[in-house]
């Protein structure tokens, strides 16, 4: 009797162990870290020829229709697309950057994600041509998710991320303007855009990392490699050339003073980007001009002048990208009204995402074949007001 019980116990234990093992094995894919799959995709990525690259650009710009060469190229990279799609849906993404290398840290993924995004754009357009609009939209959402996976590391990551967002937003705008107004698809898209908005790239975070890394580079023992990495094409005037001489001759005290100055400026920059756009831009412009002016007379300001980004421009790029994203979200809501009622609303629905240049609602205007969302304030670098046109198929 006792032996039979022991036998049952052993059998049960074995079955439980087998179940646990199978569950753990089943959970091993996809991995927790999206970067693993991105790297895998990049290993298999087949670079397009210049001809195909040009064709994909023309396709994005609406100059040509999808052709066999582009389709063939996408087919060659079908597993790459598959890995990237899976990776984009994973929450965590750790690229394994060795930040102790300072500004010498390598980020090959930034260039690869751009090339992959071009491919996803082309695929979205081909799917749309075949009437597969939801799948096409999904390609665009993949680009948005990729953008979030590269956004926070450093300032350059943030800028690449903004460029990816623009690529995706342009495609979604085209799709919204051509696809049938299916309420289910639009509701699904709205939900996806909301979830993507939650993890929006943060300029503040990127600048904070940039500050930490650059600060560690402003040292006597690191200056030669830093200047080498910068190259000499930034030396465009006598003032910069003179500053460079001082940097090369700088002692420990020189670099200590420069570190302190740079840290203060970057703290001011990080605080400024949190302000509404017009104030932020004005403050950043002032900080930039002050640093450049002081670098001529105060040697402690030289490294800040050399290393500080054109923060007012970076801020504008971020605001422009986020505003375009908000315009898409607003357009989805407007199109949903049309899908429900059969006609475009006469006024802008309430509680829609805003124009971040002005901090106000978009100006909404119906046009003969759709509608326009217009910003209420300018891009202060380009002195231009942006507007987003959407067609609304009958």
């Amino acid at each position: 009797m006792k032996t039979t019980k022991q036998g049952h116990l052993i059998k049960t234990t074995c079955i439980l162990l087998l179940c646990l093992t199978s569950v753990s094995m089943a959970k091993s894919y996809p991995p927790d870290n999206a970067a693993v799959l991105y790297y895998k995709a990049f290993l298999m990525f087949r670079e397009p020829s210049q001809e195909v690259k040009d064709m994909m650009r023309d396709l994005r710009e609406g100059k040509i229709e999808p052709n066999d060469q582009i389709k063939e190229y996408l087919d060659e990279n079908k597993y790459v697309i598959e890995f990237v799609e899976t990776a984009a849906n994973i929450r965590e993404c750790d690229w394994g950057h060795d930040l102790s290398r300072g500004l010498g840290v390598l980020m090959p993924e930034l260039l690869k994600v751009r090339l992959t995004a071009f491919m996803l754009c082309a695929k979205a357009q081909i799917l749309a041509e075949d009437g597969e609009y939801k799948a096409a939209l999904n390609q665009c959402l993949t680009i948005h998710k990729m953008a979030r996976h590269v956004s926070d590391s450093l300032l350059i990551s943030y800028l690449v991320s903004a460029s990816l967002n623009d690529l995706a937003n342009n495609r979604i705008r085209d799709l919204l303007s051509s696809m049938p107004q299916n309420l289910d698809t639009l509701t699904w898209l709205k939900g996806q855009m909301v979830s993507i908005a939650v993890n929006a790239p943060s300029l503040k975070k990127a600048l904070a990392v940039e500050k930490t890394i650059s600060e560690s580079e402003i040292r006597e023992e690191k200056i030669d490699s830093l200047l080498e990495a910068m190259g000499d094409d930034f030396v465009k005037d006598e003032i910069t050339a003179d500053a460079l001489k001082k940097v090369k001759a700088g002692d420990a005290g020189f670099f200590k003073d420069n570190r302190a100055y740079y840290a203060n400026i970057m703290d001011d920059v990080i605080a400024a980007v949190e302000l509404p756009y017009p104030e932020a831009h004005k403050r950043l412009k002032t900080l930039q001009e002050r640093t450049e002016k002081e670098a001529k007379t105060n040697s402690a300001a030289i490294m800040a002048a050399l290393l500080s980004p054109a923060s007012s421009r970076v801020c504008t790029i971020g605001v422009k990208s986020d505003t375009f994203f908000n315009a898409i979200r607003a357009a989805i809501d407007i199109t949903m009204v049309k899908a429900r009622t059969g006609r475009l609303p006469n006024t802008l629905p309430d509680d829609l995402p805003r124009d971040l240049f002005s901090g106000k609602d978009f100006l909404y205007e119906k046009s003969p074949d759709g509608f326009v969302l217009r910003c209420q304030a300018k891009d202060l670098d380009k002195d231009e007001i942006y507007q987003y046109e959407f067609r609304a198929p009958k």
Binding site: L103, M107, P108, L111, S163
Partner: protein
């Protein structure tokens, strides 16, 4: 007085009386043959040594001529009359993927400049021309 005058005087004085004996003649003849055999062997071995020596010299001369032709070929390389210097060691393409390089590319020409950077950074080394000069070959194989 030399040996020729001695011999002439000796003959003139009529003192050339030589006593002959068949056994003595046989003995002298045998000695002569033995001496001749010995002399012949020595000569052959000397001849072998001389032959070896001369072929070594010939080989050395041939080698010198080849080396001389080689040196002349290098000197007279029509494409590169002036000895070419090795260019600076190429920067690794990976260096252009550092944050600072990407930053500088962006500062130069925005996101398009970064795309252009991707074309060079990920470009595999090109295969080199099959036409390689003797100097390049020597340089590469000897590392000088």
């Amino acid at each position: 007085m030399n040996s020729v005058e001695n011999t002439e005087n000796f003959v003139r004085r009529g003192k050339a009386k030589i006593t002959t004996d068949p056994r003595m003649d046989r003995h002298v003849l045998d000695d002569a043959f033995a001496a001749m055999d010995k002399s012949s062997t020595l000569k052959r071995s000397r001849s072998n040594w001389t032959w070896h020596r001369s072929s070594t010299i010939r080989l050395a001369v041939a080698a010198m001529i080849i080396v001389a032709i080689g040196l002349l070929a290098i000197q007279w390389d029509p494409q590169k009359e002036v000895p070419s210097e090795m260019g600076p060691v190429a920067k690794s393409p990976a260096d252009s993927l550092s944050v600072m390089s990407l930053n500088m590319a962006y500062r130069r020409g925005g996101i398009e400049a970064m795309d252009a950077l991707a074309e060079t950074a990920f470009d595999l080394p090109k295969s080199r021309s099959a036409k390689v000069s003797l100097r390049e070959l020597l340089t590469e194989s000897n590392g000088v």
